[in-house]
Structure formats: C-alpha cells, structure tokens
C-alpha cells in the first residue's frame, strides 16, 4: 500500500467520524425546530382572548390555524405542553388520562378534548366541580378557540397553534 493511500485513509476516517457527528447534530436540530413556526413563538396575549370572549364561550374557528399544542398555563403543571394529534385528550386525576393533573378540585375523569374536522371540542365528563371555558361553564361539547383558557380547578389550559 502506498504511503499516500494510508495517510488519506487515516485522515479520511477521522473526517468521516466528525461528519457523522455533525449529521447527527443536524438531525437533532431539525427535530428540535420541526413544526415551530415563527408565529407560534408569540403567545396569544391574555387580554385579547379575554376581551373578545367576554361573557360567552366564544368560538372563533380560524381557518388555516389549527391548534397544534395544548399548553398548561396555570396550576401545578404550568408549562406542560402536549402535541396534539388526531386523538382525544383526556384530563383528570386518573393515571391513565392523557394529562394527569393533581388538582384538589379535579375529578378522576374530569374532561376531555376531542377533535372534529380540525376543531377541538371540550366536553365535561360529569366532574364534581365543573369545567369552564373562559368564564362560562361547559355543559355540552363546546368548540375551543385558540388561546382561550379552559379552567379545571386551579389548572388552566389553552390551545396554541
């Protein structure tokens, strides 16, 4: 084997190793920023949501801005995010809920969020203390607009794009 080939192989292997490392980092990076649109970084201002929906469980079904995340904004789990898929989200103290909350005022199976044709509906599952969409109590399946708080005991949840 000529010396030249050996040198190329020796350094080539090291270069390939590092290319592998950076490819892996690239995949991680794409994974981190996937689905993160510039708009979604800015959270809906709290005042706006409240002002628009004063006194009524409003539905502003914005087209083309589907909810992608369920974010807990207040309560013990504040900061939790759940990426929304095609399936319903159950909320309650029971361990098999999608979102298990340890709120003294929450029932074991408190409420659920169900998607229908791109719109999410909140439905109370016969909880003791009730589920509130903004100010109004939820009695039947109610469409949940983006950024309007769903209140369960001390916990607040919002849909975010």
């Amino acid at each position: 084997m000529p010396e030249f080939v050996l040198t190329v192989a020796r350094f080539g292997f090291l270069v390939l190793l590092w290319i592998f490392v950076f490819t892996v980092v690239g995949v991680i990076r794409r994974d981190l920023f996937a689905g993160l649109r510039p708009k979604s970084i800015v959270a809906t201002p709290r005042g706006v949501g409240g002002a628009v929906n004063q006194g009524r469980p409003a539905a502003k079904a914005k087209r083309g801005k589907a909810a992608r995340q369920l974010v807990v904004t207040a309560g013990q789990l504040a900061g939790t995010r759940i990426t929304l898929g095609e399936n319903q989200i159950t909320i309650g103290r029971a361990e098999d809920s999608t979102l298990v909350i340890t709120d003294d005022y929450a029932s074991a199976r408190h409420a659920r969020l169900v998607p229908r044709d791109g719109q999410w509906f909140v439905e109370d599952l016969g909880s003791t203390n009730g589920t509130y969409l903004d100010r109004g109590k939820v009695s039947g399946p109610t469409p949940v607009p983006l950024g309007v708080p769903i209140r369960i005991g001390r916990t607040s949840l919002e849909l975010r794009p």
Partner: protein, 525 residues
C-alpha cells in the same frame, strides 16, 4: 361538518348553537370509541412536529456502517498491506443486525428517538472492528492466516451483538408501555440487590477477576450480574421516588440558603450509601459503587428538584472514599485494594508501581500519548502493549490509533446518546418514565466518565467496561437493554397525544395505584 367553512373570526360565535345540536349526540353517546392508532403513517404529515424520523435513522445507520467498513478497510491496509476482498463482511453482518432492530422500531416504536440506534451502532460496530483488528494482529505475530469473520474476540463480539439486539428487540416487543415496568418495581429492586450481592457472597475463585469481585464464573464462561442490576435498580429507584417525592421535597430545613431535608428522610439515601460502600469493600470496585450511588442521588435530585441532594451525595461519597483510602493505608485488609488504586492514580510512574500494579495505567497513558492529536491510523498502532485492551482499556487502544480527534468524536457520540436519553426524560409525560429515562441516561454517562476518566488518569482507575465497545456479553446485552428501554420511553415521549383509556392497550387498564396523584410532568417552556 360545516365548522370548517366559517371564515369569520369573532363573529362566528353567534351561530355556534346550530352545529352543536347535531354534534351533541355523537359526542355524548360514544365516550369510549377506540381512537385510531397513531402508528398509521398517514398521520405524520398532518401533525407537524410529530414526525417519526425513521428514515433519518435509517440513513444515519447506513452512514455509521459505512464508517465501520472504512475503518475495517484502513485496518487491513495498514496491517496486511493490502485490502482483502472480504473486509466488508463484518460491517455487512452488523448492518443486517441493526437493520433488523431498525425494522422492529419502525413497526413497534415508530416515534422512538432516531439518534439512539445509529449512534450506538457506530460505537458497537467500531468496537467489533477494533477487536477484529486485535485478532488480526495476534494472528500476524503468530504467523497464522487472517482469522475468519467469526473467529477470535471480534467474532464473539459479533455474536454477542446479535444476542443483545435480540434482547433489545424483545424488550420493545414485550413492553408496549414503559409504565408496565412500575408494576414489578419491588421485584426488580430485590432482583437488582441480589444481582449486586451474588459476586460478593461467592468465594473469590468463582467471582474474582483481576482483584475485583464482580463476576460469576462458570468454567470459561462468565457473566457480570452488576451490569443487569443497573437497569433493575433504576426502575426500582424511579418507582420509589415517584411515591416519596412529595415527602422528600416538601419537608425541609433551610441552612445557608439551601433547603436540606429532615434527618429522618435521609434514611433511604443512607441505606444506598451503605450498600455502595459495601460493594466498594467486598467487591473491591470503586466504579460500581460510584455508579450505584451516583445513580440514586441523581434520580433523587431529578425527582425532587433539590440541589441539596447533590451536595449531600457528593459530600457523602467523597467522605466515604477518603475514609476508605485512610483505612486502606492504616488497616489494609478489604480496603487495601482501593488504597493501591488511589496511590497508583496519584503517581502512576512511581517506581514501586510502574512495572506491576501500575503497569496497565502507564501503558494506557503511553498509548494515548503516542497517538497524539491524529493517531497513528487504524491498524498502525500497537495496542497490544496495553494490558486488558479488549475490555477495560479499549478506549486507550483505540485512542492510540485514532488520536485525540477520533476519541473526542466518539466521546461526542456518547454525549449525544446520553443527551437523547435525557431529552426523552424531559419530554415524556409521566414521572416514572421521566425518572427511569433520566436515571438510565445518567448511568450510561457516569459509566463512560468512570472508565474514560480511569484510563486517562483523571480519577483512580476502576474496572468498568466501556459501554457498547468493550468485549464482553454482559455489558453489551445490559447496555442494549438500556437502549431498548430508552427507545420505548422516547417513543412514548414523542408520540402525539393519544386518546385516554380507549387508546391504551388492554393490559394496563388497572394502573398501579401507587402512581396516583403523582405529578405528571413539569416542562418549563
């Protein structure tokens, strides 16, 4: 449904009653309709941010295997002065094995982390190739023909890789939800302690290799039960702490601005501390002791978010180790081994050690020094001088040939594996999963630190295997099981939220009662 056609923003609220009337029935009467399985591939495109990334995994895996093949070719070019027509065979076999695991993951854990398998496969593959390189060197010096693919340590390691991948795949197939493991937590805890204790109880002739009693020997075959105990103990600690975290994090006294737990809550941590000191004394292995203790303290820290546990843990460990060192110099006996190792670490070139007990560390340091920045090239070094180069010192042998640049890239790959484990811990939604993933990832990281720190002279040398790289079935199987568990948890973490009870497998309709009321997750935005 007519909802989609509403273009108005706030004005839409007025007509809300009309479609709801038609919706109402179907909602209330069908509460437990089984949700569609999220595994269907058509869904990925509609849920951004929840891509499975299996193809990225496949591409990275093939890239890693190309690297292994390049390494094997360079080795042959350097050692045999020619590249044989069969240099690619081990790499091809490994590729087939890893593709098998990839397929299992693709169908059984589609959302699992895409980095874990390729990164681990690279290290495992390079380990196999390096062991084969040692076999070739041995055959050359004995004037024998080049060993076959399945001969020697390299061939054995290839077989062990097959066994490990089967285990990892079995784990993914059997455990469909990592929460099931919490049901067997006490059994696992007991099993873990027994596994740790067996070598200490057995007579030295059956359990001692090079001064450390970590083995169970059956003739020519030996296993290291402590490797498997890691996983069992992590599961047990996680379960225990999910139950006790409230007590451990609530009641406290504030000293110097840090919240310290009450004396009586220190019980478990003291128990584990004593256990690991017993390991240190009876199994004469600092690394394993550090591993168990560090594991428990970090799981405790993750569970309670209290830095005071880390401080207590570090003080206790260093106090204990220093005490063992002092006892070793005064009393000797069971502590003598540790005293020797610490003295070698303090001065490896001391005349009384350099030719006997300190010989391996000295050779390791010399090998790394010979390699320098870029190494001598795969196959061009002489790792044969380093004792135990197949197991404990594989990183030193490798380092001589790929140099600091190559070694640091391998360390970064290890770092990324650990990072993906911790990432899964952050993203998963139940606290048991969080603690298990965090604990396993940390254990892996700590083990790498202990062995790489040991062979480079940063900390006293202690016989740990280099995960995924060292020759040896126990370590490889246990660590692949660990990766299987991380894959399972990361699958749960990255999967888009699924339905509640209906979407869960029938086996876990009755969740463990003890997990009730546990905080699900707190992810700071």
């Amino acid at each position: 449904m007519s909802l989609r056609r509403w273009k108005t923003r706030s004005g839409a609220a007025r007509s809300i009653e009309q479609p709801l009337a038609s919706l109402g029935d179907s909602f209330v009467t069908a509460p437990a309709a089984p949700a569609p399985t999220p595994a269907s591939t058509g869904e990925q495109s509609r849920v951004p941010g929840a891509k499975t990334r299996r193809n990225a995994e496949l591409a990275l895996l093939l890239f890693a295997m190309v690297l292994v093949a390049v390494y094997a070719a360079t080795v042959e070019a350097n050692q045999l002065d020619t590249i044989t027509t069969t240099f690619w065979v081990p790499a091809a076999i490994l590729t087939t094995l890893f593709l098998g695991l990839h397929l299992v993951v693709r169908f059984r854990a589609p959302y699992a982390d895409p980095i874990l398998i390729p990164a681990v496969a690279l290290i495992n593959g390079l380990g196999v190739a390096f062991l084969r390189r040692l076999d070739i060197a041995k055959a050359l010096s004995a004037k024998q023909p080049e060993p076959g693919v399945f001969a020697g340590t390299g061939g054995r390691q290839l077989a062990w890789t097959l066994a490990s991948l089967i285990l990892a795949a079995a784990l993914l197939l059997v455990i469909k939800d990592h929460k099931i493991v919490s049901r067997y937590a006490y059994t696992l805890g007991l099993a873990g302690i027994i596994l740790v204790m067996i070598p200490a109880m057995l007579p030295s002739s059956l359990s001692e290799v090079n001064g450390a009693k970590l083995w169970i020997k059956f003739g020519s075959f030996s296993i290291q039960p402590g490797e498997f105990a890691k996983i069992a103990l992590v599961s047990f600690f996680a379960y225990y702490l999910v139950r006790k975290r409230e007590v451990l994090s609530m009641a406290s006294r504030r000293v110097l601005g840090i919240d310290f737990p009450r004396g009586r809550d220190l019980g478990p941590v003291i128990t584990v501390w004593l256990l690991s000191l017993l390991v240190l004394v009876f199994e004469k292995d600092l690394g394993t002791a550090l591993l168990y203790f560090g594991l428990f303290v970090v799981t405790l820290y993750v569970a309670t978010e209290r830095a005071s546990w880390l401080i207590i843990g570090l003080v206790m460990f260093f106090g204990g180790v220093y005490l063992a060192y002092l006892l070793g110099s005064w009393v000797g006996g069971p502590f003598a081994n540790f005293y020797d190792r610490a003295s070698i670490w303090l001065d490896p070139f001391a005349p009384q050690y350099v030719t006997n007990e300190g010989f391996q560390l000295v050779q390791s340091l010399l090998g790394l020094g010979t390699g320098g920045l870029f190494g001598t090239g795969p196959g061009a070094g002489s790792p044969g001088f380093v004792p135990e180069v197949r197991t404990d010192f594989i990183f030193a042998g490798m380092g001589e040939e790929i140099g600091l640049f190559g070694l640091s890239s391998l360390l970064v790959v290890y770092l990324l594996i650990v990072e993906r484990g911790l990432r899964a811990a952050i993203a998963v939604r139940d606290s048991f999963g969080k603690l298990v993933a965090g604990g396993l990832a940390f254990t892996l990281g700590l083990q790498i630190f202990v062995i790489v720190g040991g062979i480079t002279g940063l900390i006293p040398l202690t016989g740990q295997t280099t995960p995924f790289m060292s020759a040896g079935g126990s370590s490889l199987m246990a660590n692949w099981l660990l990766v299987g568990m991380l894959l399972r948890i990361s699958d749960a973490a990255r999967r888009p939220a699924e339905g509640g009870p209906a979407a869960q497998p029938a086996g876990i309709k009755q969740p463990p009662a003890q997990l009730h009321g546990a905080m699900t997750e707190v992810i700071r935005p």
